[in-house]
């Protein structure tokens, strides 16, 4: 479940704050909950997430922060590109893992690709139906 806590739209920006949670219907001890937020203009993006997962024996927290900028402003329908940096940490690890990320979208497709030595490839593909 993802619930929109707050949204602020202005002429040149949008800010969102979400609460997200889930439960395993077969093992109700397995739950997760957290918050996710972002703020963006056509030129700049910032986002973060904090998620706690509890399963009865190995509880952990995932968090990340993501910052980026668009090197050019495309028109509607153009290929849009973002250069980003993402830093994430799992409570099992002692340090933050920071790596560059490229994000592209055109039409209904969004593709995100990042790489670092610890987590290796970080790729997401999304299609808007």
């Amino acid at each position: 479940m993802t619930y929109l806590i707050n949204r602020k739209n202005t002429k040149n920006s949008q800010r969102n704050l979400y609460f997200q949670s889930g439960i395993n219907p077969e093992k109700t001890k397995n739950i997760f909950y957290g918050i996710h937020g972002d703020w963006e203009t056509r030129r700049v993006f910032s986002g973060f997430s904090l998620k706690r997962t509890e399963n009865g024996y190995k509880n952990y927290t995932d968090k990340f922060i993501q910052l980026g900028f668009a090197p050019y402003l495309g028109d509607y329908g153009d290929l849009h590109s973002w250069i980003m940096i993402k830093s994430k940490k799992n409570s099992f690890s002692n340090s933050w893992s920071t790596y560059p990320l490229l994000k592209f979208f055109k039409g209904d497709f969004l593709f995100e690709l990042g790489f670092n030595n610890k987590t290796e490839w970080d790729a997401h593909l999304m299609y808007r139906f």
Binding site: R7, N9, R15, T41, F48, Y76, G77, F105, D108
Partner: protein, 137 residues
């Protein structure tokens, strides 16, 4: 957990700073020489005449709704607007102007354009409508 709260706090401060900075230059996407400054409800309603001409090219017996939208900062997010409006059989054409935050909608003349209906569809997609202007061709 304490570190997490510190992390979130710093992030909110950062976002606020960027937000304030952005508000100071609300018209920086405008291009001189291509703007029509008309007034709706006492406020300037900047229309890109070249874009409007291009949009209206080939259209006859239609009415065009020019909708001012807040929060339309991303092409991928604006796709939902096109998909929602395209379900209306009276819609002849749609264009999204990301740089000025406008949606152009060409309808049949018979269509009774409802501000509330347009507002509802755009809010459902995550943006807000501030005002609307209708032109008949």
């Amino acid at each position: 957990m304490k570190r997490s709260f510190i992390f979130l706090f710093c992030l909110l401060i950062f976002s606020k700073a960027l937000y304030a900075d952005n508000n100071g230059s609300s018209n920086h996407y405008s291009h001189k020489g291509h703007i029509h400054k008309e007034f709706v409800k006492g406020e300037k309603f900047n229309i890109n005449s070249d874009r409007l001409d291009s949009f209206a090219n080939g259209l006859k017996q239609v009415q065009i709704a020019i909708v001012n939208v807040n929060g339309m900062v991303c092409d991928f997010c604006a796709r939902g607007i096109e998909k929602s409006f395209s379900k209306d059989i009276n819609l002849k054409k749609i264009d999204v102007d990301l740089s000025r935050g406008k949606v152009l909608l060409a309808y049949d003349l018979e269509k009774k354009i409802s501000f509330d209906e347009i507002k509802k569809l755009i809010v459902e997609n995550g943006q807000n409508v501030t005002d609307i202007k209708i032109i008949k061709l």
